[in-house]
């Protein structure tokens, strides 16, 4: 069988939570064999189509990445290189006219919802702080699901929401989190790096997002909603090998049903979360998996309450 050459094109460094999940999955696929993987990070959206073309010209088979900021142009590139397959993060639907482009997004609202249930049970004050980078759909969606989950166990929960206008300013995220703790929050939703640090310093709790950081904050991070890119990538690789790759929406591979997201193990907080809440989590998880319950997908900007 022929090796599939994958190229990753990321608009941020690979340490960025979101991209790190794609990167890890691709590295894993490479380690598993049959796949070759190179990547370019920190590509400005202006340069994104150029880099895509360059990889296409260099003969890669599959390009993974994110084209939220360069949709129109990126789709043009896809159309111009029909032999190359594209698996790209995008807010838009797949397009039959561009059969070599499949889209995905981090639809991990299921896990976020479950982490919210735990959060609602763990907050004493009922005030929860949420620090985000920008109010984009990928962020809003998870925040909204988290808030819905929290209201399950804490119907009167109050939320403080802030956006710091940057993806890469942990000191600022930390200051914002400090301010929320001053404002009464005892539990923080850590969408950005820096938030858990503030929680740790002030003895508050935190809920992780996309990645599991409990190892760094054993007394702080209670639970995390994890994104697993492996199902998405593996589905794409299989389709390529089978010759059946087509314009498709791979978003569902991030759903819990598909194993695209999960609640991180409680770890150090094992036994510290109220029984009732854990029972609810288990119930809901089962319901999500058997399809009897779906977490709403809400991309609107969350507001403080």
């Amino acid at each position: 069988q022929e090796t599939i050459k994958i190229a990753g094109i990321y608009t941020v460094p690979v340490e960025q939570q979101w991209v790190s999940r794609i990167h890890i999955a691709a590295e894993a696929a490479k380690a598993a064999g049959g796949v070759d993987y190179t990547y370019t990070e920190n590509v400005a959206n202006t340069d994104y189509p150029r880099v895509m073309r360059e990889y296409c010209e260099s003969g890669v088979n599959l390009i993974v990445g994110e084209i939220f900021g360069a949709e129109a142009e990126a789709r043009e590139v896809c159309a111009e290189y029909p032999d190359v397959k594209f698996l790209l993060g995008s807010s838009f639907m797949p397009d039959e006219a561009v059969p070599n482009l499949a889209v995905f997004d981090n639809y991990i609202q299921d896990a976020s919802y479950l982490s919210g249930i735990i959060a609602g049970a763990m907050t004493q004050t009922g005030s929860i702080g949420m620090v985000g980078g920008f109010p984009i759909p990928e962020v809003n969606r998870l925040m909204n699901a988290f808030m819905a989950g929290a209201r399950e166990t804490r119907p009167d929960a109050k939320f403080q929401v802030s956006f710091i206008g940057s993806w890469f300013d942990p000191p600022k995220a930390k200051e914002t989190a400090f301010a929320m703790i001053d404002g009464g929050a005892d539990l923080l939703y850590a969408e950005r790096f820096g938030v858990s640090d503030a929680a740790k310093e002030k003895g508050a709790l935190a809920i992780g997002n996309v990645i599991d950081t409990q190892a760094d904050y054993p007394d702080t991070v209670v639970a995390s909603a994890l994104w697993h890119f492996e199902p998405t990538l593996n589905a794409a690789l299989e389709a390529i090998r089978a010759g059946s790759f087509k314009a498709d929406n791979y978003g569902v591979y991030s759903f819990m049903k598909a194993g695209g997201c999960s609640l991180a193990p409680l770890g150090t907080f094992e036994g510290k979360v109220p029984e009732a809440a854990m029972k609810l989590v288990a119930e809901k998880e089962a319901a999500i998996k058997d399809g009897s319950f779906t977490v709403a997908i809400d991309d609107t900007e969350p507001k403080s309450s």
């Binding site: 941020v12 460094p13 690979v14 340490e15 939570q17 790190s20 990167h23 890890i24 920190n42 109010p135 403080q160 802030s162 956006f163 710091i164 206008g165 940057s166 993806w167 890469f168 300013d169 942990p170 000191p171 600022k172 930390k174 200051e175 914002t176 400090f178 301010a179 929320m180 001053d182 404002g183 790096f193 820096g194 640090d197 990645i211 950081t213 760094d216 507001k303 403080s304």
Partner: protein, 315 residues
């Protein structure tokens, strides 16, 4: 309204303001020294990045925290040396060299980081400076927690500002540096080396900028992030002008700016925050800086030879 008063009277607000101001104070002092000697150092943003990186990397590799600060300073001075060599004896455009140094220092940091840590998918952490809980002093109501629960690096920032003020205005060296920024010919005619003074100022100033950068990775946070300096260097350039090239006023400016930042973070949670777009809050510190510049424009005294290269033997 009452929200605003609650915020302004809270301990944590003022503690936050001082914390946010600390890196700005270091870097502003650095820029101020350069400009006092007649050199506009637009390399500041990049030098802060290299400082954040070098300081963090040193500690990550096992150095004690203060050695990390020293490493940051050394890295900053190295790029300061580059800036100074090109702008002072060679007299190249301070704009180009500054932006070039920013680009070079930033990309060098990222390049080196990636070479050193090629496989990370989550930024590694170090143990940063901890707030110093000084017995007795920390217990003073209000001022105790505001002032005495900062990290040692915040204290270093305040001391540094005092020292810069002292050296600039109370010693022969400071006099010579200031004169180099006012009229290099006068310095030359008094038997001093303009080149030496300006280069020295740029190198030392750049060292301070880098320490400001290292505050972000060694005190404010514990990892190095790409783009984490996030325009703070440019703010410091404005703060120098805002402070009318005086260390005391510049520190005040930094505190004011930081206070606005701390305030906007908190105001986002008030009913006001629900009505205004968050960008309005983020904009406020910049707009207020411009406003302040307008208000004090009449009194500001730009160093007369700022941005004017000095070539010996040319009139």
């Amino acid at each position: 309204m009452s929200d605003l008063f609650d915020i302004l009277l809270s301990v944590s607000f003022w503690a936050a303001a001082i914390r946010i101001a600390s890196p700005l104070i270091f870097a502003t002092m650095g820029e101020l020294i350069c400009e006092r000697a007649g050199v506009l150092n637009l390399g500041i943003e990049g030098i802060m990045v290299i400082g954040a990186f070098a300081g963090w990397m040193a500690v990550y590799l096992g150095a004690p925290l203060w050695l990390g600060v020293t490493a940051a300073m050394a890295a900053g001075m190295l790029f300061g040396l580059l800036h100074a060599t090109l702008t002072v004896p060679f007299g190249l455009s301070q704009h180009v060299v500054g932006l070039g140094v920013t680009m070079l220092a930033t990309s060098t940091s990222y390049f080196a980081y990636r070479l050193a840590l090629p496989e990370v998918t989550s930024p590694p952490k170090i143990t940063p400076f901890a707030p110093m809980d000084l017995p007795v002093l920390s217990d003073i109501p209000f001022f105790g927690p505001v002032l005495f629960q900062q990290t040692a690096l915040t204290w270093a920032a305040l001391i540094c500002a005092g020292l810069v003020g002292f050296v600039l205005f109370r010693t022969p060296l400071g006099l010579a540096v200031r004169a180099a920024g006012e009229n290099p010919a006068a310095v030359e005619a008094q038997g001093l080396s303009v080149t030496g003074l300006r280069m020295g100022a740029v190198i030392v100033g750049s060292g301070l900028m880098a320490v400001g950068g290292s505050f972000l990775t060694l005190s404010a946070f514990s990892s190095f992030f790409f783009e984490m300096v996030n325009g703070r260097g440019w703010i410091c350039i404005a703060l120098v002008v805002f402070g009318a090239w005086r260390p005391g006023k510049a520190v005040l400016g930094a505190l004011l700016f930081a206070a606005f930042d701390a305030l906007q973070i908190r105001l986002q949670q008030t009913p006001l925050g629900a009505h205004l777009p968050y960008q309005a809050f983020l904009m406020a510190p910049y707009l207020l800086s411009i406003l302040a510049l307008i208000l004090m424009s009449r009194r500001a005294e730009v160093p007369a030879a700022l941005m004017v290269p000095y070539r010996k033997g040319e009139r």
